[in-house]
């Protein structure tokens, strides 16, 4: 006699010996009633699959933030090795302290694409250029990856704002605002007051974005220009990463 428990294990092909499975297969071929019982069981099991769930928009934002923070944390963790590293690495470690404000600067450019607001020119390119051309600035590949991912992610999230209802937009913007506040502090810690000031002003732009349904056709030229600037920034980052890879 094959009971439902055994049929269940047979269905999963787990918890039974291969010999027992072969025997049940043989019985199934011979016994239509047994076949029917198995079919019924499998139909019921199929019905017992839970409905797919969609995570709240805010949860997605929280996960992205946690992931980005873990990535940044990983990057900072390397700084604890400073005293053990040879001299050529010191410039790289110095860059790490500027990582957060740089990230914020890049985000600012990305956000600017969609809110149609030009950033004050010196805020991003000048400090970036200073780092890129002097003081031995050399971003680690991991840092570049984190930055690139964050740029892509933020850009994506802002593009998705149009698809969200008012509450969803508020959640996403609140999260961006919260992180922006962290970057302000990071910029201040890195002795970069210009960037901190720009980031603080950015909060106001986020407020205006809250009720704005999104950029329209009239903003297309502005968006193209800002996208170009964003690409320039990313290209510089990539080029620096390549150089470092070769030097290793």
């Amino acid at each position: 006699m094959i009971d439902d428990r055994e049929l269940l294990l047979f269905h999963y092909r787990d918890g039974l010996s291969s010999r027992r499975i072969r025997w049940i297969e043989k019985r199934l071929k011979q016994d239509p009633a047994l076949r029917l019982r198995l079919q019924r069981l499998e139909a019921e099991l199929d019905a017992l699959r839970p409905a797919p769930s969609t995570a709240p928009v805010a949860a997605h934002g929280r996960w992205r933030a946690a992931l980005a923070d873990a990535m940044a944390e990983h990057d900072h963790a390397g700084a604890s090795d400073r005293v053990f590293l040879p001299a050529p690495w010191q410039g790289l470690l110095a860059f790490r302290s500027l990582f957060a404000p740089m990230l914020a600067a890049a985000v600012m450019l990305s956000v600017g694409v969609f809110i149609g607001t030009r950033l004050p020119p010196p805020a991003v390119p000048a400090p970036f250029d200073e780092m890129a051309t002097g003081q031995g600035f050399s971003p680690a590949p991991a840092t570049v990856n984190v930055m690139r991912a964050y740029l892509v992610e933020t850009e994506q999230r802002l593009m998705e704002l149009d698809d969200l209802d008012s509450a969803g937009r508020a959640d996403v913007l609140a999260e961006i605002r919260q992180r922006n506040a962290l970057y302000v502090k990071a910029a201040e810690r890195a002795d970069w007051p210009e960037l901190a000031r720009v980031l603080r002003a950015f909060d106001l732009e986020l407020d205006s974005l809250q009720d704005d349904p999104g950029p329209g056709d009239a903003d297309r030229d502005m968006r193209r220009q800002l996208e170009f600037e964003l690409n320039v920034l990313q290209t510089r980052i990539d080029r620096r990463a390549s150089k470092l890879t070769h030097s290793i």
């Binding site: 787990d14 019924r40 139909a43 099991l45 769930s53 995570a55 992205r64 990856n145 991912a149 964050y150």
Partner: protein, 180 residues
């Protein structure tokens, strides 16, 4: 169908893209296990961060999404373990038993939706341990031995919990069909 397999070297972009593709699926898996949205959210976050820290262990044999999925599910189990939910308390009483009824009868879309709602209530009558065994086996398709290892119980204990879970759910399914 996009093949999301990667070489063993994964970068931040891979993680962000995986999150965008599979975040809801990870959340659903955790919600099935915890039945608490807040816990499920925490589990996804814990698992995701842990996966990032362990990314050097990713060998590219599975898709990155699948690899993270497993870590996230383990994080959900870990959260439940902290709540001591994975102890087998043995069989609980089934109120009454009726013969299972063929599912694919007058099942239209509306009935299906009603059933999914009913299923939510049905799963609530399972003990945590029964639910975990059922979800890991039936939904996540783990091996019984893997479930036993993860829950710290014997394979036989897992089997018994699975049997009880399926029995309760089949009874509930039959009752629902009768009411419908």
């Amino acid at each position: 169908m996009v093949d999301h397999r990667h070489s063993s070297a994964v970068c931040a972009t891979d993680f962000h893209q995986a999150l965008r593709r599979s975040g809801d699926r990870w959340y659903a898996a955790c919600l099935n296990i915890t039945r608490a949205p807040a816990l499920a959210e925490d589990a996804v976050q814990d698992g995701l961060v842990l996966a990032w820290r362990k990314r050097h262990q990713f060998n590219g044999e599975a898709a990155i999404d699948t690899w993270i999925h497993r870590i996230v599910v383990n994080a959900a189990l870990q959260l439940l373990r902290r709540n001591k939910a994975m102890v087998d308390r043995g069989p609980t009483e089934v109120e009454h038993v009726s013969e299972p009824i063929e599912l694919h009868t007058p099942a239209d879309a509306r009935a299906r939706d009603e059933w999914l709602y009913a299923l939510e209530r049905l799963v609530a009558v399972l003990t945590d341990y029964e639910r975990i065994c059922f979800v890991l086996k039936h939904v996540e398709e783990w091996q019984l031995s893997e479930i036993a290892d993860e829950t710290g119980n014997s394979v036989n204990s897992v089997k018994q919990a699975l049997f009880r879970a399926v029995k309760k759910l089949r009874v509930g399914l039959a009752d629902w069909r009768i009411e419908a």
